[in-house]
Symmetry: C2
Subunit: 356 residues, 2 copies
């Protein structure tokens, strides 16, 4: 277990890094945030901030020498940056989890190899691939770049085969995959954690509502049968174990008549786990810090029902009104400019367990 | 209402300042901590830290010029320091609340003038005063310096009149007051907040257990009748209103057969309010920031039962074992040296509302 006063390095200075830094502080740790952009939200609450690009290997090495463990708030970190860090300091979660989640095709192949169900998919590099994939998968479908992409970027929907040319053009030559749609009744996610010793703990699945590719709301409890709930948790555990994972992972799932289908995995704390801040004794951020610092995990039990709502762009203007609502817990990210689509904060609306 | 990105100045860099800084961050504010000691716990999570004594009026003025409002985590701040700040920047809670709580005699006089009950008391400056006070109040009694004093320091117990000389010597010439003991069944406290507009909100009273003058545990709900609960909250509201108070105050009370007796007031967030971090949507730290930054107050309702226990000195060694308990929420203060009597952290043990 890392001793009190140890330093946790965090790659990425956004709101996830910010909430990780506050959770680390609650366990007595100092944090050092590494972020290319200026004035990052996480820098406001970290003991130390390095402002440098991920291509600056000397800055990364200096960062790694000053911390006891490194983690990250997002998965699209260049391999060279990770090499520079791992030469000096432990990195959690591990490279395999990152590599799998950095590539949608690799991720889907990993999941199906585990025997889990995903949307139908096919690799697409040219018009011929796309035509064959459309033949097999049908429409509607969605063409996505294999790498990068976040909150709906780098994606093109195909309502008919006639959309193929435009969709392929939108990929700008990047390797892609075509995904079929899944007929689902609802979207849920499981936030689960694993320690190096193999302890696995999952929070109660949350039910998600997305709009324009961005998460808007997560509600716990999700409307699930006991069998679905157990299956969701079991499935997340299988993924963590297969990756020898250390830390918190977000697993997004579709609920279908034929069972659960994995949408995607994120090797980090996840927006759909923000409800845990006000519904559990140990939230997803602290759970992640516990895992990477060698603590026992919290038990994940809920002591309250919660509805989490993101405050996006100028919705932040509603913060004062929300603050006056009974049971509303605000979490703002310290961003001063409210650009459209930008996550500015969230609110957890809390009710006693099973209450009215 | 202070806009997002505004800077909140905090005098004092201990654990209360630290938890205030994290609450300010949740509302989108930056914090600047002013603390004479090196490497203060609050500095680890603040956007900025000034290390300078309270006698350095130039440093205080520079601090005040860089912030939008100033608050404090402890009440024994020199008047000259407050003058330097108030010449530049608003200070909350106000000077009157500070002056009253800095002097035990003034505080008792203020409370009795409000018609509230306190322990019997008398001013003591010399042996003649003390003899007359002992005649009137009797023994056992406790002699306390009027000013300073924290967690049992600057106090001497008198089991009989024969202890008078030693007790007076322990005051080292400082003006003092003699307090009689109050026969009480339990100690409780009310954490209440008031805004500049006069909105007052109290959290549910907590039941406290002290040992050697240091708070060990606070439990909510406290074992109180509905009438006692209502009276405790009403009484706290009267104190806040009489002081035109802005911020959070801790009011310690004795429960006696003849009603509630005020033990002392603290014009700040209070150790006995730490349970709110895991029992309410808005905790005492955020409630304080809301009040001084012009937000509406949170409603103060509990959504869970909580038992808060301080981790003092080497009790911090139990942190890992506590972390493995179901429902245990740890809050460590980032102090590396565990001296005897030093508050190193606390744990909130959370259970669903009214649960078993």
């Amino acid at each position: 277990m890392l001793p009190s006063g140890a330093v946790i390095g965090i790659l990425g200075g956004g709101q996830l890094g910010r909430m990780l830094a506050m959770a680390a502080a609650r366990l007595g740790y100092l944090t050092h945030v590494y972020e290319p952009g200026s004035a990052p939200p996480a820098g406001q609450v970290a003991a130390r901030l390095t402002t440098a690009p991920y291509e600056d290997l000397a800055a990364l090495a200096a960062f790694a020498r000053g911390v006891d463990v490194v983690t990250y708030e997002f998965e699209n970190i260049p391999a060279s940056a990770l090499d520079a860090i791992e030469a000096i300091c432990p990195l959690h979660p591990n490279r395999r989890a990152l590599e799998i989640s950095q590539d949608r095709l690799t991720e889907k192949a990993f999941l199906t190899d585990l025997g889990l169900r995903t949307a139908p998919f096919a690799a697409v590099t040219d018009a011929g691939d796309l035509a064959r994939a459309l033949d097999r998968i049908g429409v509607p479908a969605i063409l996505k770049t294999r790498r990068l992409g976040y909150d709906g970027k780098g994606q093109a929907r195909l309502a008919s085969a006639g959309d193929a040319e435009a969709a392929l053009a939108a990929m700008a030559g990047a390797p892609a995959l075509l995904e079929g749609f899944v007929a689902f009744s609802r979207e849920i996610s499981v936030i689960a954690a694993r320690t190096a010793a193999g302890q696995v703990v999952a929070f109660d699945p949350g039910e998600n509502v997305h709009r324009e590719g961005i998460l808007r709301r997560t509600t716990v409890p999700a409307r699930l049968s006991e069998a679905e709930r157990a299956e969701a948790v079991r499935l997340a555990g299988r993924i963590l174990e297969a990756l020898d994972y250390v830390g918190v992972m977000g697993v997004e799932l579709f609920v279908t008549a034929r069972g659960l289908v994995v949408n995607e995995i994120a090797p980090r704390v996840h927006n759909s786990g923000h409800w845990t801040q006000n519904g559990c004794a140990v939230d997803q951020f602290e759970q992640h810090i516990r895992a990477i610092a060698g603590w026992p995990l919290g038990d994940g039990r809920r002591h309250a029902d919660v509805m989490m709502e993101n405050l996006i762009g100028d919705e932040i203007g509603r913060a004062a009104a929300i603050a006056a609502e009974p049971g509303a817990a605000l979490h703002l990210y310290g961003k001063t400019e409210a650009r459209p689509g930008r996550k500015m904060g969230h609110v957890n609306r809390v009710r006693p367990l099973g209450g009215g």
